[in-house]
Structure formats: C-alpha cells, structure tokens
C-alpha cells in the first residue's frame, strides 16, 4: 500500500515513491485478475468444445480452467435448441427482453424525472409527506409484495392466459415500471444542484412551470436522463425473480432471457448439468451488449452513482 513510502530523507524520496508505485501496480494487477477471473471463466466455458472418449459432448462444469478445445458449438446449440417445448427459444427470449426493456426504460425514466423535478423544484403542500411515504414504502422488502402483484395482475388477466399468453409481457412491464417513480432520490439529488435562480428568473420572464421543465431543466438533465435510462433498460436483463414469478414457469415462450438462462441450470423440468456451457454461451450474449452500453455511458453512470452517494 501507499503508506510504505515515508518521506524522511529527501534523497531517497523519489526511490521510495517508485517502490510505492510499483507495489500499487502489483496490487492493482492482482486485484484486477481476481475480479476478472469469473468473467473470463464464463467466456472460456462458452467457447469450450470438449468431447468424451466415446464422442459425447461435455457440457458440464469441468475442473480444468482452460478448455482443451475451443469451438462455437455452444452458441449454435443455444440458438437452435428447443427448451420447454419452444423451438428456437433463446432468440425469442432475447427479443422479449428487448421489447420489455425498451418500454420499461421509457416509462420508468419519464416517471422518475417527473417526480424528481416536482420534489426538487416545485413547492406544494404534502411535498414532504410524499417524500416520507415513498421512503417508508421503499423499506418493505420487494419480495413481500411480489406475490401480491402477481395476484393483482392475474385478476386482470395480465399474467397470461391460454388465449393470450403474450399479455404476461404487459404485466411484467407494469411490474417493472409502475413503482419506478418512487425511486426518484438520485435524480432529485441531481436536480437540487441546478441553481434555483435559473428557475426563478425564467418565472419572472413569464415561463410556466411546464415550459421551465421542458426548456431549461430537461436539457440540463441529460446525464441523469441517461443514467436513469441505462438503469431501467438493464433492469429486465438482470432480473430473474420477478419475471419468473409473474410470467410463470409454464409460459416459456414469453420468458425473459434471464429467466430462461436461470431455468437452464435450476429449472425442474429440463435442467441438466450438461447445459452449463450453453448457459455460459447465453450469458456471453446477454452480457456483451450490457457491458458495452455501460462502457460507453460510463461517465453518466459514475455521475449518477456519485450523486446518489452524496445525497444518500
């Protein structure tokens, strides 16, 4: 660690500094390797193409870290396979997830921004009450109400029925985006930093609150819009619990990709330890676009995270 360097003599200072830098590099490289191992391993497993002596394919978790042979068989199998009676299930799951993610992204971002703007820049009765209530509701474990949301959606036919199994996707979008507005704290922290004088002067010029929001706040809020959009877009790709409960185990055609992948390992019906390399291939396909998005939007992500930290 950096503390090793204790500049006591001026002469040895630069030498000490170099040593301490060297130590820091070493530690960081080791840490990076530790942090990357699981990800590298999943990628390696995805390209693993090993056969037993009798010619059967090994799709299980194997104990050698580096595969003996590489190939694209896992990807080919993944795209052609029939899971739970659904032919070519994987591309369908990806498409389902994409549709859900886009709609959820639009609705959630809109809700979050509108609430955050109100809480930050408008003065009205019950403002503080609204903030307190939303905080208290947020303290209930989400899993508790999950099953209730399922009953609710089921009573209005949005968990998919025999005639319209695709309705379950509408239900899932609602479940993801409906509560989004209550998670306004980070965006509010961002809006709080925008000077009030800007709003006041616009008001003096006769701007309505709507105009202020559209013409002044929204253009300034680009980082937080991108942050919120990123968060709500990636949500459906990462969640496997809510989707599983709401779409249901039998409705495999309309699963999201994470449910499908999860069921590949743990599902009761088709799960097979021999699916592991296919699972890994699916993971790589899901992870690549998300990681790329994160890398491109890194700046905004960091900004959002920092805003959340300071405001709590």
């Amino acid at each position: 660690m950096s503390n090793i360097a204790r500049p006591k003599k001026v002469k040895s200072q630069s030498r000490n500094r170099r040593i301490s830098l060297g130590v820091t590099y070493t530690i960081l490289v080791i840490l990076s390797i530790i942090w990357l191992i699981p990800l590298v391993w999943i990628v390696l497993s995805a390209f693993r193409c090993e056969y037993q002596a009798d010619g059967t394919f090994i799709g299980k978790v194997t104990s050698n870290f580096f595969p003996k042979q590489y190939g694209f068989k896992n990807f080919a199998d993944l795209f052609n396979a029939t899971y739970y009676g659904v032919p070519n299930a994987f591309p369908k799951w990806v498409l389902n997830t994409f549709i859900i993610a886009v709609i959820d992204c639009v609705i959630s971002t809109f809700l979050v921004l509108s609430v955050a703007y109100c809480m930050s820049k408008l003065k009205f009765k019950l403002r503080k009450a609204f903030m307190n209530i939303s905080m208290i509701i947020g303290l209930f474990p989400g899993f508790m109400s999950m099953i209730a949301i399922y009953f609710l959606l089921k009573s209005i036919g949005l968990t998919g029925n025999a005639d319209h199994p695709e309705y379950s996707m509408i239900g899932l979008v609602l479940a993801y985006s409906a509560g989004a507005g209550l998670g306004f704290q980070i965006a509010k922290g961002f809006f709080d930093v925008i000077p009030n004088a800007l709003v006041e002067s616009a008001k003096l010029d006769g701007c309505t609150n709507f105009k202020i929001f559209r013409r002044i706040i929204l253009p300034l809020a680009k980082p937080i819009i991108i942050y919120q959009a990123l968060m709500s877009f990636t949500g459906p790709w990462m969640d496997f619990i809510f989707a599983k409960v709401i779409i249901g185990a039998s409705n495999a055609r309309y699963w999201t990709v994470s449910v499908g992948l999860y069921q590949m390992l743990f599902g009761s019906q088709y799960s097979d330890p021999n699916f592991f390399t296919q699972f890994a291939a699916g993971c790589v396909i899901v992870a690549i676009p998300i990681v790329t998005l994160f890398m491109f939007l890194q700046k905004y992500y960091v900004e959002g995270v920092t805003a959340g930290a300071v405001k709590g």
């Binding site: 942090w35 990357l36 978790v61």
Partner: protein, 599 residues
Amino acid sequence: MANKDPINKRRVGICVLLSFVTLGIYAFYWLYLLVKNVRSLKNDTRSCIGEMLCLILVPIYPIYWWYTRGNDVKRLLEERDCQASSTGSLFLVLLLLSSFIPLVIFIPMGIMQGDFNSLPTAVSKSHKANFFSPIGKFFRNIGKMFTGGSVGTKLSYFIFGAGNIYHKQYIKGGIFLLLQIAIILFMVLCPSINGTPYGYKALANLSLKNLSKGGEFDPATGGMTTGSDCKLMILFGFVTIAVIVIFVILWYKNIQSSYKADMDKKIGKKPTTFKEDLQSLLDQKFHITMLTPTCIAALVFTVLPTIFMIALAFTTYNDPDMNDAGTTLFHWNGVQNFARVFTGEGSLGFEIKNRFLPVLGWTFIWAIFATLTCYFGGIILALLINKKGLKGKKIFRTIFIMTIAVPQFISLLAVRNILGEFGPVNKMLMDFGWTNHAIGFLGLNPADSEILAKVMVIVVNMWVGIPYTMLMTTGILMNIPADLYEAGRVDGASTTKMFFKITLPYVIFITTPYLISSFVGNINSFNTIYLLTGGGPTHTGYQAGGTDLLVTWLYKVTIDQGAYNTGAVIGIFTFLITATITLITYRRSKAYNEEDTFQ
C-alpha cells in the same frame, strides 16, 4: 429561554373521554402531544413523528421511553421550579401493569399531562403546522364552506359538480358528476371478477370473521358460490376502500372548487373557465400533472400489494397448521401468526420459531460485515487507483466497472460453479494435495460447513460490492480540498497520518447516508445469497438454511412453500428492523433536516 414550541396543555379527563369516544384514535394523538411536549421541554424542535412511530411499532421501545422520559420530565420540571409527579420507576411499574390491563396506560399519560399542565408557561399558542393539522383543517373547511358557500356549493355536498354547474363551469361540473355516478354505480352494482365482487359486497366480505363463508349468494344452490376466493376478497376489499377514499377526496375537491368560484364571484372575478383550469395544470398545478401517473401506478402496484400482504399476515392463508388450509379458503386469525414465531405453536410454528432468531442474528452479522468490508475495501481500492503518478487509472477503473455491468446472475453463478464441487478451485486444491475431497465452500450440500459458507458469502460479496464503493469514493476523493493536504504537509504529517486524519474522516463524513442505506440494502440483499448458496447448507421445507437472510427465507416461504401468511409476517419483521434503523439515523441526518437548503 424562548420556547419555539409551547407546551400543549390539555385537560386529562377530556383527553381520556375523547380517547374512548374515538375508540383510541385520540389517545395516539394525545401520546403524540406528550412526545412533543417532552421535546419542547428539552428545546428540541425536530419533528417527533419518528419517535412516535417507534413508540407504537417497536416492541421494547416504550419501556425505555417511559422510563427515561419520566426521569427527564422530573428533572426538567424541577429545573423550572415545579413539582413533578412523574418518575421513571413509577412509569415503569404502570407500563408493566398496563400490559395486563391496557387501560392503565392512561394513568402515566395523565400524570405526565398533569405535570405539563402545572408549568407556568404563558407563551401564545403557535400555529406551526404538524402532522395532524391538515386533518383539523379539513374538518374546519367543510363547516366553513357549507355555511359560507352559495346555494350551488351547498348542493355540491350532495351532488358532485352542482356548484360548478351553478357557476356555468359545465365541463368541470360534468366530470365531477360523472365520477360520482360511476363510483356510486361501482359501489352498488358490485361488478365481480371470477365470482368475487367489488363494491359494498366486497366491504361486507372483508368484515367477515370467517372469510371462507363469503363470496356471493348463489340463488340456484341457496348457498354461497363455490368459486369464492378469499385472497381476491381481501384484495378487492382494499380496492373498494381505496375507491371510497378517492370518493371522499373528490367530494372535498368538488366542494372546494365550487367554493373557490363563489369567492371569485364575490370579489368580482369571473370563475375560471375549463381552459384556464387545464392551463393551470401546466403551471401553478404542474405538480399534480407530474405526480398523478406515479401516484396511480405506485398506488396500484406498490401500496396496494403491500397492504394486501400485511393483511395476509393476519390470516390462515394456505397454512398447514390451520384446519381450513387452502389457497382459496381461509379466515382471519388475528396476531396468531406473529405470536407463533415466539411460541412455536403447531408443526409449522415449531419450525419457524426454531429458525427465526438464528436467521435474524445472521442477517445482522451479514449486514454489518458486508457493509463494512465493501465500504473500507472500496475506499482503499479508490485510493490505490487514484494514487498520484499512477498510469492507466482509466483502465483499472473500467475493469472494475465491468464487474458491475455484468448481470449478477451471471457473475455470481460463475463464482458458484468455480467454487463448486467440480469447479477449478477444488481441482487445484486436490492437485496440490491439500485436500483429498472436494470442499463445499458454499454449503450446497447439507453436510457442508455452515461457518465456511458464511465466511465465503461475505468474501464473495466483497467481489460484488467493492467496485461500487470504489466508484463513489473516487468522485469524493477528487473533491477533497487540496489545501487540507497542503496544511498537513507543512505541519510535517506523514502520508499515513494524513490518510487517517484527513482523507478517511472526510470520506466517511460525506458518505454516512450511503453507509446507512447500504446497511439497509444489505439486510435486503437477495441476489448474493440466493445465487451463491441458495441459503444452504441444510434447508428443507420451511427451515431456513445456514446462510439464509430474512429476505431469502421470506422468498422460500412464500414462493417455494406458498405459506404467504408466514412470509408476510417475516416481511413485516424485516420492515420493522429496516424502518427503525432508517428512521432513527435518517431523521437525525443533515441531509434530511436541511433538505431544503440544498436547493
């Protein structure tokens, strides 16, 4: 000594009487006043709703409260040269007595109120708004608007929109009228889904002691429809209550709208046209436009489900211990589900009681360790990456962000398999000859070590959490004023000393709110446990495994076992814990109390 909040004086007899008349509701308000009085005696102007909630919701807290506050009141009164009858020990005894005879609680309340009444403060009553003042205002306004309003306004008390139509605001009045008709029809006609009705029948169903006797009367058989479903009855009952609340709000708004038109007329202004009303929704009332979608969505998909699950905690829904077990037929059973956690009554109750305290303890240990390891690990990592003269900062940061970006179900399942029975780690250990059989790091088999699994989840959680804290602290580290270090260097402080005296205190000061929210987040941390260990080792049926947290247990109990009532009980306990922590710390924090100053 200027008292901003004067002491509320009340006649004890009247307070007790009102408490009886209002079936105890007034007692809560009275208690609230007492809490407030103690606060103002201490010159503490912070809002006391948090304390009030703790007093009502947290089990042991009242004992502590009455004891310490009794002594406080005695001391503070004697400082003001008053005779005090309150003492902590007296209250303690009375409180214990009141747990057998609830009515005794009025005695300490009365004694305390009597002490407050004896105070000679002659400060005029302040008009500072409190939590209850909107309710009072609501009732005052109803009276005021009836006596002061025009014929139209008076008519609005019975027919929605009458006042608006009277003032020629036809569209607005029409909308109010239509809403009134729609809601009344909804209440009277009781539309039903799957044989379960809404409307007044839903209310009637909700009030049944034995829910399974509800449903709709079926003339063909002379009994109730067989399709009645108790969970829908509860759900629809609450929807109906929500509709009634909306009805009352609409009623009030319709009167208010008409009264406002009266007032406009009085001062010679024309009542607003419908177009003007719409325009004001984009300006003065813009918050209504902006908040309505969220309010509706959150009400339906967050508040309603939460209330519904809380209600289920008081039923026998799908409970193997109750004789009417089933997913469609069940009944209310009071607080038995809560009591069962402590008494262990019945076969399920026995299992729940056995595991509750261990799981609770582990949840706390987990939350403390997970929070602290990730927090300090993240700070150290950020310091390393931001070291002066280090090249490739961006590359290192990107590597760690990448681990955040990869969905947890991928990375954690990868870790699970790497550490698993057939994974590379065990192979390596065996090749080195350090072990001759696969080690169950994650407790996936019932025979595996529980301690090892617990340590491993905390360690693996560092992998998950450290990059996140690192990102956050990076931003904060860059904002530390450089002159602080300059001053430190001039004084000859070493790098180590500067880290402990400048960097660490600064970062901790800024991130305290985050520390609290991440502690609460870790109590509810589902993914890490569920994906890594699945709660193992040893988990069968309702029995929580060695690494199960309250939330993962809740998930197993509800989704896997279908014991929704028990799951809801666990959920409510989890809420009480997180709410207590958050309310106590958050309401004391600067970020909350000076929330407005940030703007």
